[in-house]
Point group: C2
């Protein structure tokens, strides 16, 4: 049916079908407006569970390939035939049969418990991982073994772009996990994504001076560009990510910093139409898109969304981190650099002597090679899936009918959108009820907003704290709304 | 005699005497031009070994407090009464009974073995430590224990200025090892001194745009300031360090980057007269002196020279590193910040999110607290003392009467100065004899120079390689000189 097949192999059926459908829609073989079989029909035709097809459709709707018309069915969306557009266009942006998807990235704002609250404050700020489940023994052993087994060279300065052993493992991992095909020579190891942004800011400073940023967005990346002298140019975000549809162009000297896979804080996925548009704008002005892929590893529905980098490897600088998957304290991340920029980045890294401790790099390589990292990841996906369910249940219990949940397909935070106008509520006062929470609009540069969206970071909280936190918030709201 | 005493306690007699004499000279109690007792007289008077007094005199001559007049004796030098000058001056630059000394700092240029040489190339470039003696087991265990024992917080982002436990240990160590009295709040942990320079460059960018640099000097620091947009202003170096005696002023907007304790590559110690002058210039213009203290821990004669920071804590930013004492691959260093700049540095570190892995920080704290670090240091001082002796012996054997050795009191490199004009020798051609070496003048920004001084980094080479390397160099020189 539709030429789709599901093979019995290691790749999950959802992922197989998503990839095939993306290619069929991307190439125009399934044209815009075409109605798809119902989930029941397709499931029967392929001999698979209906839930699998539901997951596939939901994922592709989230990515902008499909759209659902109420009471009618599921259709191929307009403007999703990116592969045909690319071929029709002047120059192909990709050198591989790039499959368009989206992956959730974002970084978490710094936070700490508030002082003076009645009980230990429950803090929903940011999107932090659960550090109590950090694989201490595994990591400790890998570190120790790396120190004991390391050749003497590894104790020296080493390769400025990072330990070649780790870069090989990262290339393999990026293909396994995100479907990215990149050469190890184009991967630069950095001490956390922050250092990645610092590296980019310095490497491109002679050609760029402005960064288009999502508004609202996480502070980390944009603050670093600002500290390096770049001007910030905020552009609004909606349910499909950055409002690229309203952008006429990228000016010369303008970069764009994006969280395409899981926008922080709104949780939206940058749609395929806007991805395509942004790549086109970057090509037209010789600019680069910086993809902050901060938490795409945690995906709870469907298969991973492909990084923007896959769509245009020469125009997208992909920044990844192990802060969410392992721990922010490790300071381990990487930057996938467009091949034509690799020399420039290497020179900048050399000049600034930005190096990451080799022993930690080798320990991470061992975790990736031996499967320890992905075992930990799978475990944590289960843990966070449970926490997310607890949070949604608690929100349902206390705010039934008053809020809609969004941006919960991935990552370590979700958004609760109040249906009523609650703009006069001062959420910072919730501290006196022992709970800390922020509005999505608190992350805005431009100010304003409806202040209707609350950001719930839940990764670091246990189930009891999540429930208690939501109960406290409900108590606060009852009093504040008087 | 002279009011000097030697007490039987843990502090070595050389260090006790040096400190007392510095204070007596600094305060003017021993006035300029005064003749000191002979080493024999003083040793007899104090009931100590004559060699001890010889060491004391040599050290204080190197630091500029004393001067030796051939055939006449040892005298108090002009301009060394810095404490009296400070008190007489408008404002006291120090808040503690600051003792003026000097400590060797510098960083090593990146290097790697050359390709295409007849045998494995013996590389005298830079001042690298002997990584084969890195305390792997100790460090590996401390790392592993830090991971296992760390509170969950330590796996998070942590304090931007560094782990408080490590900063306490560093404050104690700085007092033990360098006589620095600093509060932990003014110590910022950095990922190697390079990141320290990056931090300084960013933190002061709104007020400063030029850096006075020693010429010649190590590339690391100056390259980072250049990459951050600072203009470099080279000033010559002689046997007493930077030619501060020829500087009229520090302009507003000018910083100075110095290796006062052990200039790289010349090995000279910045004299007390010039230290005092530079501090005065910095005070007059509201500028700061950046003290790159890269290898002062390795001192082979006399006691450690006090850092410039001790002389003027509000005018000197002291940068230290564990790259030489442990390994460059660890990326561990620190910056002692003038108290009035601490807030500014903290904000910059926050904005750039410059963080050092917490597990490594805690492991280093454990090494300092338990004495493992200093045990390693003492061991390595013995090792490098032996290598230095082997190198001097080999130079004596092959270049008898043709070279003078200087800058060998400390650090991991020394200078061999040819008496004859050898400016036409192309030292890079020595590669074809299987040896790599650089002239001190290769480290010059301004170019020129007599090219008479060869820099021998010996820390990373074993005794056999040192002997063989010098032999190859002699063979090369015989051929090159025809």
């Amino acid at each position: 049916m539709l030429g789709l097949t599901v093979e019995k192999n290691a790749v999950p059926a959802v992922r197989q079908l998503c990839e095939q459908l993306r290619r069929l829609i991307g190439s125009g073989e399934l044209p815009a407006g075409m109605k798809l079989p119902s989930t029941r029909q397709l499931a029967a035709g392929l001999g698979i569970a209906r839930n699998t097809v539901v997951d596939v459709y939901e994922q592709l709707i989230a990515e902008g390939f499909l759209e659902s018309r109420v009471g009618s069915g599921t259709y191929v969306a307009e403007g999703a035939d990116f592969l045909r557009q690319v071929e029709a266009g002047k120059k192909a942006a990709t050198d591989s049969p790039a499959v368009s998807r989206t992956v959730p990235p974002a970084a978490a704002p710094p936070a700490g418990p508030a002082a003076g609250a009645p009980e230990p404050v429950i803090d929903f700020t940011g999107g932090f991982p659960d550090l109590s489940l950090f694989p201490r023994r595994t990591w400790g052993n890998h570190l120790r073994n790396a120190v004991l087994d390391a050749p003497n060279d590894l104790l020296g300065y080493g390769d400025a772009f990072g330990d070649p052993v780790l870069r090989n493992e990262l290339a393999a991992y990026l293909f396994r996990a995100k479907g990215l095909r990149v050469r190890p020579e184009t991967i630069a190891v950095v001490s956390g994504s922050s250092e990645g942004f610092l590296l980019i800011a310095h490497a491109l400073a002679d050609r760029f001076g402005t960064v288009v940023v999502e508004d609202p967005t996480v502070e980390f990346g944009r603050d670093i560009f600002a500290a390096c002298g770049y001007r910030l140019k905020p552009v609004d975000v909606d349910g499909q990510g950055l409002r690229a549809d309203r952008m006429e162009r990228l000016e010369s000297g303008e970069l764009a910093l994006l969280t395409p896979s899981h926008q922080f804080p709104t949780g939206s996925i940058l749609s395929i139409q806007r991805r395509h548009r942004l790549v086109g704008l970057a090509e037209a002005s010789g600019s680069y898109l910086i993809e902050d892929d901060y938490d795409s590893e945690f995906r709870f529905r469907g298969s991973p969304v492909p990084p923007l980098h896959a769509l245009a490897p020469e125009r997208v600088i992909h920044v990844g981190t192990f802060s969410k998957t392992l721990s922010p304290g490790l300071r381990l991340g990487f930057v996938v650099v467009p091949p034509s920029l690799a020399d420039r980045f290497r020179k900048t890294k050399d000049a600034l002597n930005l190096l990451t401790p080799n022993v930690e790099q080798r320990a991470l390589a061992a975790m990736l090679a031996g499967g320890d990292f992905e075992r930990h990841l799978y475990r944590m996906v289960k843990v966070y899936r449970h926490k997310r369910a607890v949070l949604k249940e608690a929100l349902e219990e206390h705010f039934h009918g008053a809020v809609d949940i969004c941006g919960d397909e991935a990552g370590l935070h979700l958004l609760a959108r109040f249906r009523a106008d609650i703009s006069r509520i001062r959420w910072e006062d919730a501290l006196s009820f022992g709970v800390r929470i922020q509005c999505a609009d608190d992350y805005r540069l431009a100010g304003g907003g409806t202040r209707r969206d609350l950001v719930f970071g839940y990764g670091h909280l246990d189930a009891a704290a999540i429930r208690e936190g939501v109960a406290r918030l409900a108590a606060f709201l009852r009093e504040a709304a008087g």
